[in-house]
Subunit: 324 residues, 2 copies
Amino acid sequence: MNEFDLIQQFFSHANSNRTDVALGIGDDCALLQPKSGNQIAVTTDTMVDGIHFDSRLSPADLAHKLVAVNLSDLAAMGAEPCWVSLALTLPTSDSNWLTEFGAMLAERLQHYGVSLIGGDTTRGPLTLSLTAQGQLPAGTAMIRGGAKPGDLILVSGSLGDAALALQQDKLVALPAASIASLEQRLFRPTPRVELGLAIRALANACIDISDGLSADLNHILARSSAASGELLGAVIDADKLPVSATAVTVLGAKRAALNGLKGGDDYELCFTVSPDSLQPVLAAAEQCNTRVSVIGEINQTGQLAVQYQQQQLDWQAQGYLHFS
Amino acid sequence: MNEFDLIQQFFSHANSNRTDVALGIGDDCALLQPKSGNQIAVTTDTMVDGIHFDSRLSPADLAHKLVAVNLSDLAAMGAEPCWVSLALTLPTSDSNWLTEFGAMLAERLQHYGVSLIGGDTTRGPLTLSLTAQGQLPAGTAMIRGGAKPGDLILVSGSLGDAALALQQDKLVALPAASIASLEQRLFRPTPRVELGLAIRALANACIDISDGLSADLNHILARSSAASGELLGAVIDADKLPVSATAVTVLGAKRAALNGLKGGDDYELCFTVSPDSLQPVLAAAEQCNTRVSVIGEINQTGQLAVQYQQQQLDWQAQGYLHFS
């Protein structure tokens, strides 16, 4: 028994006492009892020091973001989040770090009714990897490959603030509260769990926006084309992209739209619905107090086109890092 | 899409085409369909460069060991191994490394009928973390906390060769084949998956031996005492510990037994059975072509005692690194 075996004490309260955890931390395996007939949705996301985050993120931020990025993947399937396993590699067993990280991990998991069921804690360069599992009735998951020509394209929340928070040189003139609000989006994103569950029966395809809207929408087009045998495309009205007032202040309206189109790390949902389902989707989103915006349409052009004020935009030439 | 997003090509063949994988790699989550009424057993083990392994291990060794240490935890519960998620952090996207690692990963998973269902590949210091999942009928798992007074204690295979392989200064006089055989035990352990399934209905408690027999048997005693409200203990006949001829050659019989008692990383199973179940257990082990040895008995002394040739051994004073 070494110091790293003892670390589980910091995570002992990260347990929401789910009745479907037949055996939790402390044996060779955890034992879970999924609801009969349900499917299990599984995702893994890793965050590495110096690659995915820097010293601006506190241990609490790291716990918050680690839970968010994983639960965002469950949300994109419309799965109910249930259980997580944590692989934590740490340079030293720093009890202040562990206390702060463990408290936020517990708070976030409690918030979503999720249990920490196990994992492994090892010594080494700071690396955090979470495997999150959810449940949903068989055959009901939203997948990337279900988009159909004529579907409307929607996104939740607003886009681009996380990417803008990384461009520190642009933010120097901003009030501290505006910077804090951008950093909140980068450090502590909100996974759209409730929205994912609410639209599961209504949406044809869904993905969470981690690589940027244009990249992630392209994933939907590629998988849906492969699934249907049709060459699908899309047109986006960039002026309809939901962006924050801060982004418009810093970048101007058009660049804020481009930033929303290409910036990553927002963890919003992008999903497609047949026009018939729009009203029920808007009602479901309102029930969740989550803003959703119609931003475009799936077509059969085989490419992703972007318009701004009815003008075709040569958006791929306007590289994300260079459009300023 | 960066080079690390493309790495999944190296793992595309690590898929045993299980019919219970409704959706595999390539969406926000994998979707699994457990058998109705089954429980899911989940375990995570991480291996960090410079901590858990060194440059003596090839990429193929790493893949082999990563699968083995995780499937060993499933074996200890008696679960059928089904699905794994890989969190791989790599300094560079080295295609030779990835090809060799991916090929052995696929070979090992295929061997056990397990599918790679997803994960995450990131840039950073070499760290490998696997989350493995198995299935078993609800209520049938072997746990650490089920040992009862009077139970016989058994172990599979032989003990101590992995620990001996680390003591390179002791091995200089050995033939190369003997060193290779010891290193095989350290670098490419065999998880006792088939044995775990075969004894599941017969054993009262089980653990896999990763920290060393004495440490892991103490885990059984602690959990079984907590579960039963009795203060359980055990007596081990160290001369009955299964050790290799090479270990006896290098260390002598008594020190080989102590090495087997304390050395870790063998990934054998230690389990307890009521005397009535001994014959069926021996028959089940023979069906699996796996040697098992009776090495002691659970009692109510509240401590772990070790005998050698009927003499009580003050084994805790004989530290693992110092007994030579």
